[in-house]
């Protein structure tokens, strides 16, 4: 899937990347801003040369001071993840990795260790499974039809396509659970874990298998079978994590 360069002067649209730009907890600040943006860029999830929102806009989005954003952008610039142009059409622009983020992911896996990713994935499986179970109890016919149509989308392998497919399906699943808190948690987890999970899946996963799980979840929700919905969602997240494990093997070989 080719990624489209945004027209000069237009800031990157936040809609699809809402999770990336979601507000941060207090503390961490500049590092957290840099990591949130940096991950998505390094893992090739933001289109090359797309302009970032203005500093003031980012500050508002993340809920930090403009000076904090400036500090974070400085860090990203020194890592070669963004370039900054001056002038009327100036601003900060994404430098997407030429290998689609593979090297960055391997480096990240090597540095962080599998245990931390497993812990985060366990949490995600719990949230996702809980959403699926509640969705099965609370979905009306229109909800079930919407999930079925999202699940029926063609499997994709492109990074950006996976982000859309996985992100959207699970967000709608959370909303169908009728839980605002689980929906917020789903969004936060997509921001924190999504880049790793989805990029690993793009590199080593099985799109057909993921699509089949989405369909099974949607069917269980339609049938009001909470147990099956939860089991399918947990298995699905487990399979996504399987791709992270396989990437980890490669990361270790490079060590």
């Amino acid at each position: 899937m080719s990624e489209r360069v945004q027209p000069a002067g237009a800031s990157i649209q936040l809609g699809p990347y809402a999770a990336v730009f979601a507000p941060l907890d207090a503390g961490r600040r500049a590092d957290a801003v840099a990591r949130r943006l940096g991950d998505s860029i390094a893992f090739g999830l933001l289109p090359d040369d797309s302009p970032l929102p203005a500093e003031a806009d980012l500050a508002e989005r993340f809920g930090v001071a403009t000076v904090t954003v400036r500090e974070a952008l400085g860090a990203l610039r020194s890592e070669g993840l963004i370039r900054t142009r001056r002038g009327r059409r100036g601003g900060s622009f994404v430098c997407a990795p030429s290998d689609g983020g593979r090297a960055a992911l391997l480096e990240r896996l090597r540095r962080t260790g599998i245990g931390e990713w497993r812990d985060l994935t366990d949490f995600y499986a719990t949230v996702s499974g809980g959403c699926a179970r509640l969705a099965a109890h609370r979905a009306d016919d229109a909800d079930a039809a919407r999930l079925a149509s999202l699940a029926a989308r063609e499997p994709v392998t492109a990074r950006a396509g996976i982000q859309r497919l996985e992100g959207q399906f699970h967000l709608d699943l959370a909303a169908t659970a009728q839980s605002a808190r689980l929906t917020r948690e789903e969004m936060a987890l997509q921001a924190e874990l999504g880049p790793v999970l989805w990029l690993a899946h793009a590199q080593e996963g099985s799109p057909a298998q993921a699509s089949a799980r989405h369909r099974s979840i949607a069917e269980a929700v339609r049938d009001g079978d909470g147990g099956a919905a939860r089991a399918e969602a947990e298995a699905h997240v487990g399979e996504l994590f399987g791709a992270v494990r396989r990437m980890m093997v490669q990361a270790r070989r490079l060590r």
Binding site: Q6, Y17, Q163, Q178
Partner: protein, 263 residues
């Protein structure tokens, strides 16, 4: 208002509570319908010329005034265009949001993705608050649902088609938090002797006097569509249902008050 009751199995007190509750729902709903209607009129007036563009819309002041009023505190207001209607954007929406507890000071324009080529673009023309008014030509209440795009909370979205002649240009409408509705109905719900539940046409709970029925829950087993159809055919109601609920419509709103019947 009309009722379909499990005959005589609701106390007079509960019956009168249900009546007052339905009247209040109708009053709040009527206010919202009127506000949405005025917004629709403004949008259709602005887009009435040949080949309208984004610049013709200019509804910010109108939306801000809606979000600033305190009678029915709103969480959002705006217009969402049908694809290809505006000459300078295939997809376009102008929507302002506010924290209804705070009002105008929290008002901001919703940042939304309107580029169909972009990675995570969500085609809003598939979403129920857009699809239904387009298909029916009528004002529609979506929800309560968890609105992750905008309010992040249980929300009711009221949308009405904007038509110029017979051409569908999009939908205009408002967002109302379920929590706001609950508060607006507080006087009728709090301390009620009967169990009263305000539901939408599929039985989704909007507000209730009983903690057994929480916003977002589904009341299962209602012949809900039949009830709403019945209402249109025979406005004075009647007939028993055997569901454990007495059913009372709220004017022409797609909402109803359920009152638990004694066994």
């Amino acid at each position: 208002m009309s009722t379909v009751e499990d005959s005589r199995s609701v106390t007079d007190e509960a019956r009168s509570e249900a009546h007052a509750l339905a009247a209040r729902v109708e009053q709040v709903g009527g206010w919202v319908e009127h506000a949405v209607g005025a917004l629709v009129d403004e949008v259709s007036r602005r887009l009435a010329g040949p080949s309208p563009g984004r610049g013709d819309l200019d509804i910010e002041a109108h939306c801000r005034s809606l979000l600033g009023q305190r009678e029915v505190p709103l969480a959002g207001a705006g217009f969402v265009a049908e694809t290809g209607v505006l000459r300078d954007a295939p997809y376009w929406l102008e929507w302002w949001t506010a924290n209804p507890e705070v009002g105008l000071d929290s008002c901001r324009r919703l940042t939304a993705d309107t580029d169909p080529a972009s990675v995570g673009f969500r085609d809003y023309t598939e979403l129920p608050w857009f699809v239904t008014p387009r298909e029916t030509g009528l004002i529609h209440v979506t929800g309560p649902y968890v609105d992750y795009v905008c309010t992040d909370q249980h929300t009711l979205t009221v949308t009405q088609p904007v038509l110029v002649g017979s051409t569908f240009l999009g939908v205009a409408g408002v967002d109302l938090l379920a929590a706001t509705v609950d508060r607006l109905l507080g006087a009728e719900l709090d301390g009620a002797s009967g169990v009263h539940v305000v539901v939408n046409t599929v039985g989704r709970v909007v507000a209730s006097s009983d903690p057994e029925h929480v916003v977002g829950d589904l009341v299962r087993g209602l012949p809900e569509v039949a009830w709403f159809t019945e209402r249109r055919r025979r406005r004075d109601g009647g007939g028993g249902a055997g569901t454990g609920w007495s059913f009372r419509t709220c004017g022409d709103l797609p909402l109803a008050v359920l009152t638990a019947t004694s066994a």
